[in-house]
Symmetry: C2
Subunit: 294 residues, 2 copies
C-alpha cells in the first residue's frame, strides 16, 4: 500500500505522478495562520502505508521546507511505513560545502533534518553536486534527466551540436549529454586578470565557429554566467546558441535577458514550472518510485 | 568561556544581554541570496566555547527558524561546547498538541529539530503551555515574567485590581499575578448557545462592577478575544480595564482596536518589540543564563 501526499499547489502534478504509479494522490490540509505560521494536517490514515511526499520547495524555500518538516514528523507520529520525500528541486543545493571557514553547509543541514524526522528516501532531480549526498543516512536518489535532454536536442536542434558547460563543475553534465549524442563537449575556463581583477571566460579547446552550441547547467538563477558565455560564443562566431538547464528560477526576467543576448532557445524541465519547461521529469521520477514502492 | 551569537537585527538587544552577563556579543554573518535562500556564517572561533544563540523568531517565522537551524548545525560542526538557544518568543507555541486527528504538533517538531541539531538548552519566555516541554531531551527553560508584571501593576495601576484570564488555559497566569498582588482572580467562561451556536463569555464568579480589571494573556494576535472580554466587562460596569500580555503581535492594528474598545492601557514585554513593550524580560533571561554558563 502506498499513496502520495502533497501540498495544495502541487496537487495537479501529484495526481499525474500518482496515476503513473497507479496509486492515490492526497492533498495535505494546509493553511497559513494570520501571524504567518503554517498549519499542516494529514487528512487520511497512513498507518503502515508507504507515503511518498511530493514537496516543491521553490519559491519561498524556508516556508516550504518548514511545512515539509511538519508533515514528515506528523507522518512518523501517525505510523507511516516508509517515507519517500520527493523534492524535484532541492533548495539550498548550491551551498553543499564550506566555501569559507564558519559557513553553514546548508544542504547538509537540510538533509540531516529530513533524515532525522523520518525520510527514508530523498528523491531529487539533477542535484548541483551528487557527491553532496555521500554520508547521508537516508538513501538519496538523484534522478538524471540527461537522456531526455539528448533526445530533445536530437529532435529539436540536431545532433551536430557542441555541448558546453559554463564551468568545470558542470562539465560532467555536458559530457553525459554529448556522449549520448556522439558529439564533442567542453567547458568554459575562467581567468582572473591579476591587475584589473576582471574575470574572462572562454571555451577551453573547442572551436565553435559556425557551429551550433548547447550550453548546459543545472540551475539558472540570475543567468549572468549564461549571458556572459553567450556573448563570448557570439564573438567567436557560433552559429546558434541554445541553453538547457534543469531548474529555472529566472530571477529578474533572466530568461528575457538571455534571449535578448542572442540565445535561440531555452529549454528547462518542470521541476520548477515556467514558460521554458519543455521537458517533464515526472515520468523518470515515477520510474524510480516504482522500484521503491513495490 | 561563553559568548552570544545573534542575527544582525537583534544585535542591540544581544549586546545588552551580553553586557549584563559580562561576555561578548557577536553578529552572525547573514544574508539572503537573490533566490530567497539564507546564508549563515559564524565569524568567530567557537571551539570548546559555550555559545548562547539569541534568535528572534517573529515575524517571518519560517525563515527565522530555518536560519537558526543552519546556525545550530554549524556551531556543532565547529565544535562549540554547550549551545543555549534563547528564543524570547517561541514560534508555533500554540500548536502544542494534536487538536484534531492528523494535525502536525508543530511545537513538538520544532523543539525536536532544535534538539537534534545540538541545542542543549532552549530558553523562552512565558510559553503558551509549559507542559508542552515535557519529554524534551534538551533542557527547556520557561522564563516567567509574572513578578515583574505584579510590580508594574502595583506601581502603575494599583493593587486593587481584579486579574482575569480570557479563558481557563491562561488562568494560572492570572492566579500567579493576583497572588503576588494579594488580589482576586478569575477567568472567562465560554458558553455556546445550542440553538444559535453563538459563543458568549463572562467572568465565572467575580463581580467587576466599579472595579479595576486587568486581563492577562500570553499572546495577543488579532486581539479578538480581548476585545470581546472588554465589551463584556464594560457592560458589567468595570471602572477601568487594562491588558497585559507577554508577546504582542497586534495583527491588523489589533492594539488600536483594543484601545478603541475602551481599554485604558496595554502592557507588553519586549520579547517582540512594539509600542507597548513597557516591561523588559532580558534581565530575567540574563539571570537564568548566568546559572547556565558558570
Amino acid at each position: 500500500m502506498a499513496l502520495i501526499l502533497t501540498f495544495p499547489e502541487s496537487a495537479e502534478r501529484s495526481r499525474k505522478l500518482a496515476s503513473d504509479l497507479g496509486i492515490e494522490s492526497v492533498s495535505t490540509e494546509y493553511k497559513v495562520f494570520p501571524d504567518g505560521e503554517d498549519y499542516v494536517r494529514v487528512p487520511v490514515d497512513v498507518k503502515d502505508i508507504d507515503v511518498i511526499v511530493l514537496s516543491d520547495l521553490y519559491p519561498d524555500q524556508d516556508r516550504k521546507i518548514f511545512r515539509t518538516l511538519l508533515l514528515l514528523d506528523t507522518l512518523r507520529d501517525l505510523g507511516a511505513r516508509r517515507i519517500v520525500l520527493v523534492c524535484p528541486y532541492l533548495a539550498y543545493s548550491r551551498q553543499d560545502r564550506r566555501f569559507r571557514d564558519g559557513e553553514a553547509v546548508s544542504l547538509k543541514t537540510l538533509i540531516k533534518i529530513f533524515e532525522n524526522l523520518g525520510a527514508d528516501y530523498i528523491v531529487t532531480v539533477d542535484v548541483h553536486k551528487p557527491q553532496a549526498f555521500s554520508g547521508s543516512r537516508a538513501e538519496c536518489i538523484n534522478v538524471e534527466p540527461f537522456e531526455k535532454y539528448a533526445r530533445y536536442v536530437k529532435e529539436n536542434i540536431g545532433e551536430d551540436v557542441i555541448v558546453l558547460s559554463p564551468d568545470i563543475g558542470s562539465l560532467w553534465r555536458a559530457e553525459k549529454v554529448a556522449k549520448i549524442l556522439g558529439t564533442s563537449y567542453d567547458y568554459f575556463e575562467k581567468h582572473r586578470d591579476r591587475v584589473t581583477g576582471q574575470i574572462t571566460m572562454r571555451p577551453r579547446q573547442v572551436d565553435v565557429r559556425d557551429k551550433k552550441v548547447l550550453i548546459i547547467d543545472d540551475i539558472i538563477a540570475t543567468g549572468g554566467t549564461i549571458r556572459e558565455a553567450t556573448k563570448i560564443l557570439k564573438n567567436m562566431g557560433a552559429r546558434e546558441i541554445h541553453v538547457i538547464a534543469t531548474h529555472c528560477q529566472f530571477l529578474n526576467n533572466a530568461d528575457k535577458k538571455i534571449i535578448d543576448e542572442g540565445v535561440k532557445s531555452i529549454i528547462c524541465t518542470d521541476t520548477i514550472e515556467c514558460n521554458h519547461s519543455k521537458i517533464t521529469v515526472f515520468d523518470i521520477i515515477a520510474e524510480h518510485l516504482r522500484r521503491l514502492i513495490t
